[in-house]
């Protein structure tokens, strides 16, 4: 069948060709599902074989996920609350991420372009960057109190540095030739910032935004260790306290899927805006 798709010249019955084409289109998805399927299988078998008694089986988690989403099975405090937690986490992730992007992109453009700004801020950010977001947790709770504002701040911190660093990198790696081309065409000085620097740095800025949004989801659990009542991170922390491992795993899966879907949105936007770049054709 795969041979029939490879060489379109080979005459084949219409139905067979359609099937082959469908298979070709589904191929990436099917390939991508192999590893997760194997992991599920191993998980299932490991639980069945009694390798652990603390981890529920995939089927149990799936059942609980349904209850978590729509209720009607266990009807406990967490039943049918998925949307509330997801919404709370999304607000913090996107809010913190948006604020990080709003500060980091202009900051990065300035650091990359103006030596004085670089001399003022570069050493400071280099010094602050290695400090893990988790280390900021106590201080953040003192500064912003227990609750969502602290979570928001930690997400902001997590997303900030990748966006900043990639923006700086993008600005600094603009081909010098393009400045020469712009100036001999009559575009000089500050006009070059919008006509040359910004578009040339856009691919790097997008790389930074992708990494930043990924990290925003990455730190949401830490962010919601600050004593917020709602949020996927809070659910995971509650699950740990209550020894409800199925709740923890449900929270993990939802974060994974939400993070993945957010990334796809950024990638779609990126492919649209960077149509001109041979590296970003999608």
């Amino acid at each position: 069948m795969s041979e029939a798709t490879a060489s379109g010249a080979v005459p084949a019955p219409a139905a067979g060709q359609g099937g082959a084409r469908l298979l070709a289109r589904l191929r990436p998805t099917l390939l991508a599902l192999i590893v997760p399927a194997l992991l599920l299988l191993f998980w299932h078998l490991a639980v069945k074989a009694g390798m652990t008694r603390l981890i529920p089986s995939p089927a149990e988690v799936a059942e609980y996920m349904v209850d978590f989403a729509v209720g009607g099975i266990w009807d406990d405090a967490f039943s049918a609350t998925l949307h509330l937690h997801l919404l709370a986490s999304m607000q913090r992730v996107y809010g913190g991420f948006a604020l990080a992007a709003l500060v980091a992109v202009p900051m990065g453009l300035l650091i990359g372009r103006i030596p004085l700004v670089a001399q003022l801020f570069d050493p400071f950010f280099q010094l602050m960057r290695p400090i893990p977001v988790t280390a900021w947790l106590p201080l953040s709770m003192i500064l912003f109190g227990l609750g969502p504002r602290s979570a928001f701040f930690l997400v902001f911190l997590g997303a900030f540095y990748p966006i900043l660093l990639n923006t700086v990198f993008g600005v600094r790696s603009v081909e010098p030739r393009l400045f020469e081309a712009a100036s001999m065409l009559g575009c000089r000085g500050n006009a070059q910032f919008f006509k040359v620097v910004l578009p040339a740095a856009l691919p790097s800025i997008f790389t930074g935004l992708r990494l930043g949004l990924g990290l925003a989801w990455f730190v949401i659990v830490v962010g919601e260790m600050t004593g917020v009542p709602q949020g996927l991170g809070a659910v995971i922390m509650d699950g740990r306290t209550l020894s409800r491992t199925e709740l923890v795993i449900c929270g993990m899966i939802v974060i994974g899927i939400a993070g993945f879907l957010s990334d796809r949105v950024v990638v779609l936007l990126m492919n649209r805006l960077l149509r001109w770049s041979p590296l970003h054709r999608g």
Binding site: E175, R177, L178, E180, A181, A182, S183, M184, L185, G186, C187, R188, A191, K195, V196, P199, A200, L202, R275, W276, S277, P278
Partner: protein
Amino acid sequence: MAELPILDIQGVGKTYTLGDQRIEALRDANLTVRKGEFVCLIGASGCGKSTLLRIVAGFEAPTAGSALMWSKPIGEPGPDRGMVFQDYGLFPWLTVRENIGFGPASRGLGKAEVRDIVERFVALVGLTRFADAYPHQLSGGMKQRVAIARVLANDAEVVLMDEPFGALDAMTRERLQDELLDLWQRTGLTVLFVTHSIEEAIFLADRVVVMEPGPGRIASEHRITLPRPRDVASPEFNDVRRELGARLHSHHAKKAA
């Protein structure tokens, strides 16, 4: 030469300082170019031909002598001196149309005016079918056509070309050479063209300026009087090529001795 030259290079030198090392890239260059002339600069690498071109473009300031255009010192780069680079220097995020319109738009022309200019020059270089393509979708020859068109669209009086066809295959190079001559004859442009190919220089130029390295300087000038269109396979062409080749090699032999 009673007529005022468009370019007047007098005693121009360029010395770079790298740490405490001083590198003399160009020494005492003298060259005058009349409006409408096609001048080729030729020589081995390190002879200062690109440096001279970049000084005329305004990308670098001379450290000695004076470089004048219409008797005024050359300052910053500007639309009156368009540059065509070997590596094209197109804006990858702009389409063919937008690349050609970049200059006119930067000069503050109105939208309708820019559009008219763009359409005219897209057609002039034969890229109408590719007007909405991005540079990465074009062949090397097409990219160089865009680079030439954007300079012409910006009303450049002098076109500076730094080995523009050096990265192209032989067939494409010949076609672009013909097209360039055609444009030059139709528009009355002044062209300063850097190359390291003797044949290319003789095929294109009214005048060939031979440069030599260590430090870079102008060694000799040769007027090419062969009638156009020139036939690279003709005996007359070969005579000129042999003579100029001997001249280039004698410079190098002298240097080696």
